[in-house]
């Protein structure tokens, strides 16, 4: 029985880590902030959920298990709302006409370009917005670039991609963005 539980944990937690890897790859490879965010938040919620489910057989019922589930629920709430806030900021930045946080690869507005670590600038800046759990795997999982994962995530991200490319250059468009956000929150 414990062997079975261990096997379950091993498989489900590994599956969860796979989602984290997918999220990190998406974060590093996707072109614009909205699709990066899409990859990150989905992978976070699913990955952490699988890790929590995988750990459930290993902990004592009910209190530790319920705490784990509560952590997951809170992370989902926090992560998705943080995503909403970043998107709202991005809409505002687009409307203002500066690139916002998305185009840091080519906008050249960072003096840091001269230092060695600056190549990681964009990625590190965005990772910081993610919930803490994703920061740690990011360090170790980053080199494991998997084209297949990136491709599967890319198709899913198309919807957000289009939304990002829609012209949002005027004040009315910010209003539309805000209304959209309000709808999404309800």
């Amino acid at each position: 029985m414990t062997d079975l539980a261990n096997l379950f944990t091993l498989i489900v937690v590994s599956l969860g880590l796979l989602f984290f890897v997918a999220g990190v790859v998406g974060l590093l490879r996707f072109p614009d902030p909205l699709s990066r965010l899409h990859a990150l938040t989905k992978a976070d919620a699913l990955g952490l959920g699988l890790v929590v489910i995988g750990l459930l057989p290993q902990v004592s019922w009910p209190f530790t298990a319920l705490k784990l589930l509560a952590i997951w629920v809170l992370m989902v709430i926090g992560g998705s709302i943080a995503g909403q806030l970043i998107v709202a900021t991005q809409f505002a930045a687009d409307a203002e006409g500066n690139g916002g946080m998305g185009d840091s690869d080519d906008s050249g507005d960072h003096v840091a370009a001269s230092d060695d670590l600056a190549t990681d600038d964009a990625a590190a800046g965005d990772t910081a917005f993610a919930p803490a759990a994703s920061a740690a795997p990011a360090a170790s999982a980053a080199p494991a670039t998997s084209a297949a994962l990136a491709a599967s995530e890319a198709t899913a991200a198309d919807a957000d991609d289009n939304a990002a490319k829609a012209p949002t250059k005027s004040a009315t468009d910010i209003e539309i963005g805000r209304l959209r956000l309000e709808d999404a929150t309800r």
């Binding site: 709202a88 505002a92 946080m101 803490a132 929150t185």
Partner: protein, 347 residues
Amino acid sequence: MSAIFDLALLADFVLAATALLLGLWVILTADALRAAIGFLVYGLLMAIVWIRLDAPDIALTEAAIGGGLIGLLVLGASTRVPPAPATARARRRWPLHLLAALLSAAVALGLAAVVLSLPDPAPSLAATVAAELPATAVENPVTAVLMVFRAVDTLFETVVLVLALIAFWSLIPDASWRQRLAWLPLPHPSPALVLLAQILLPLVILVALHLFWIGASLPGGKFQAGALLAGVWALAMVAGVMQPPAVTQRLPRLLAVIGPLVFFAIGLAGIWLAGDFLAYPVGFEKPLILLIEVVLLVSVAVVLGLILAGLPAATVSLQPQLQRAASQPRPALPSDQRSEPFLEDRP
């Protein structure tokens, strides 16, 4: 399998390397906002490091204060300080940077030398604390040290917190003394943020009370719980769910000092009742420690929250000129929409 391939050791190595590299990056990066965000992540990494060192009490404090509150303060400061002017001045300051680096390296190497030259086993009072623990009526040795054996340290730590608040408030210009603290509230908080604050407010209060209560027997206690409460108070103020207070209001001031006051009074009473300053009368240890912890919890939460709440908006604003002068594009945070950097506005 030799110990070198130990998985835990490997994880520790990755963790240490990440912390070092991130620290280096935070120092070297030129953009203040990015450095602030990096520092926030660094605080969370340090919390994991403390967990790996089997110090969960410190890890909790580091996560709440080092990662959360200080991160928020540094983030706020980085969006208010105008970006550094171009490189000419920075280049002239390289000897200063070199000196700072050398001194820091000397401190680090000195500490490493001390730690590595400790005898094995290292001198420790842990056994003495464990032997005397039953007399203190608490089960968590860290709490016992903080509240009983080294109570005088804890007392003056809380006094330092109040002093920090006074020093911070002394930056407020006379003209805006009576206004509400205005750094945190957003002019138009996103509905998602309001929702988050509404969800988290009761939950975090519950978690903080839990953390406070288990502090008697498990890692936790008033500082960690107070930092959590301060953090969620700040979130509520950002989202407009709660109004920030004004400096002139009596209640926040009273709550900020009540902890050290009660602690000091009980300590003084100990001279008569138990024969020494900060000694607890036999049989009353537990209720007295609990009373002190409750009032300290309130004071820690209020002082940290008031520091996070910042300063009142300045009445005379130089904002337009400043913005034109500092119109370098940078990643926009919601806090950028707020106005009035306070330092430049002082007469």
